[in-house]
């Protein structure tokens, strides 16, 4: 009898992730974004406006240390949510999920491609807003290269978890609400680690590179954990 639990059993694992499918989906997403510009400009604009809000909310014209790190990271996090909400819009509205599920392609390829696209958006966002942030608030720019590195490592975790939560929310009601609700607690450790790593880099008297190692180590651990979780579960999320 195949009724009941057997009918529900997960389809067997297929042969490994299709790298070509991953590349195809990533290329498709980047092409669409380039053509429609629906995520990155909004993120950048949001970030810059938020900087202005912080300037008045905190009543400060220069920032350093933990305050600077906090403002920058919180802004990047919230801007990321804008992109994450939009990540699967085309798939949902234009039948993209069906198109990809009909193909002999592992669901993982879709998840990883979306995470990859999100990573690209975040890197572009930071390329635009980091200089703006420096111009607005920083007295010394010498810590910026290292800060860019910290942000890049943060982006990996942000992209991995963001894509995962986005898939979960894409197929539910109240999806725009669900993303920040579920994602923000999950990102608290990132905030802690990235904030603590960035703080000495933005110190008023110049960057201090000591003690940053353990935070970068933690970020790497965090990133790897959720990349692994993503790889393990994307298939289950995209089945029906």
């Amino acid at each position: 009898m195949t009724a009941g639990s057997e009918a529900r059993a997960h389809p067997g694992r297929r042969r490994g992730v299709s790298v070509d499918a991953f590349k195809a989906i990533l290329a498709k997403d980047l092409r669409v974004e380039l053509r429609t510009l629906q995520s990155v400009p909004a993120m950048a604009l949001f970030a810059i406006t938020t900087f202005v809000l912080f300037r008045y909310g905190l009543d400060r014209t220069t920032l350093s240390g933990s305050l600077a790190a906090g403002v920058l990271l919180a802004t990047v996090l919230f801007a990321a949510i804008l992109a994450i909400n939009r990540l699967f819009v085309a798939e949902r509205d234009e039948g993209g999920f069906d198109a990809i599920r009909l193909a002999p392609v592992d669901g993982t390829a879709l998840g990883v491609a979306k995470a990859g696209a999100l990573m690209v958006y975040l890197l572009v966002l930071e390329a635009i807003t980091l200089p703006v942030f420096a111009i607005f608030f920083l007295d010394s720019w010498s810590g910026l290269p290292a800060l860019a590195g910290v942000l890049a490592l943060t982006d990996v975790g942000l992209a991995a978890l963001g894509a995962l939560v986005s898939v979960i929310a894409a197929n539910s009601r109240a999806r725009d609400l669900l993303v920040p609700l579920v994602l923000l607690p999950l990102l608290v450790p990132v905030m802690i680690a990235a904030g603590n790593a960035a703080e000495p880099l933005l110190a008023a008297q110049g960057p201090d590179y000591g003690g940053i190692g353990k935070w970068l180590g933690f970020l790497a651990l965090y990133d790897m954990t959720f990349i692994a979780v993503g790889f393990a579960v994307y298939d289950f999320l995209l089945e029906d």
Binding site: A3, G4, R173, V182, P185, L186, P189, F218
Partner: protein
């Protein structure tokens, strides 16, 4: 493996907890630093440990659910999270009371375990809106399992991060003025911990039994109404218990 019956577990839980509380009030010594209020620790910490263990257990059930597709594991995962969240409310309340009694404020950011717990609690509370937002029962169960696994992986990372961020030296649970937990306190604590674990297990099994009963009831009702179903069915929002052999008259 023969699992003790619900009645046995309930009795054991009651006995153990009673013993624990008796020990707390009559046997365990008064803490030099914090006085009587320190005794809330015997409630707070076991609640926290059981709650966290519950989240991990939920993640394990979720993994089994994804691997086998059997909805039974999803129900167990759901109930585990449900009860751990309730225990979590207890953790936050007792933690807050302890904070106020010890340091005069209703919340302190200095106690890393409490703060980590708050974040974990905030995450698991989103489990409910997530489930309610997905209508298809099958997909709801699968997504909930993915959430349980992701959140389960998150818990240890969260504790590590918060602990690493801890900068102040602060009276910690296992460090009293004597620099360690004396034997009598440790014994009392372990008894309370065991009692709380039994309570958690007991409540989980009660809830599972209740769900199973109500699912059977609705199946029988449907059969009486003349709809002979070959298909399995369960409640829409919370996971229903589905027997392996779908039948109108199980």
């Amino acid at each position: 493996m023969k699992v003790p019956s619900l009645r046995v577990t309930s009795i054991a839980a009651v006995l153990c907890l009673s013993a624990g509380f008796a020990l707390v009030f009559f046997y365990a010594p008064l803490d030099v630093d914090q006085g009587f209020i320190q005794k809330i620790f015997y409630l707070h910490v076991p609640l926290a440990i059981c709650s966290l263990a519950g989240f991990v257990i939920a993640a394990i059930h979720a993994i089994r659910h994804l691997r086998t597709g059997d909805p039974v594991h999803d129900v167990r995962s759901y109930v585990s999270i449900h009860l751990s969240v309730i225990f979590g409310v207890g953790v936050l309340l007792t933690g807050s009371i302890w904070a106020h009694a010890s340091w005069g404020k209703w919340w302190v950011w200095d106690e890393p375990t409490l703060v980590s717990f708050l974040i974990v609690f905030l995450l698991y509370v989103t489990y409910y809106p997530l489930r309610y937002a997905i209508e298809d029962r099958d997909r709801q169960a699968r997504y909930a399992s993915v959430f349980a696994i992701t959140a389960g992986a998150f818990v240890p990372l969260n504790f590590i991060a918060v602990r690493m961020a801890q900068s102040l030296v602060h009276p910690r649970v296992f460090a009293t003025a004597n620099g360690g937990l004396p034997g009598s306190m440790l014994f009392t604590f372990l008894v309370c911990l065991l009692g709380m674990a039994l309570l958690w297990t007991c409540l989980v099994r009660f809830e599972l039994a209740a769900k199973s009963a109500s699912a059977k009831l609705s199946r029988l009702r449907r059969a009486l109404e003349g709809e002979t179903y070959a298909a399995p069915s369960g409640s829409r929002i919370a996971p229903g218990i589905v027997s392996r052999a779908p039948s109108a008259l199980s």
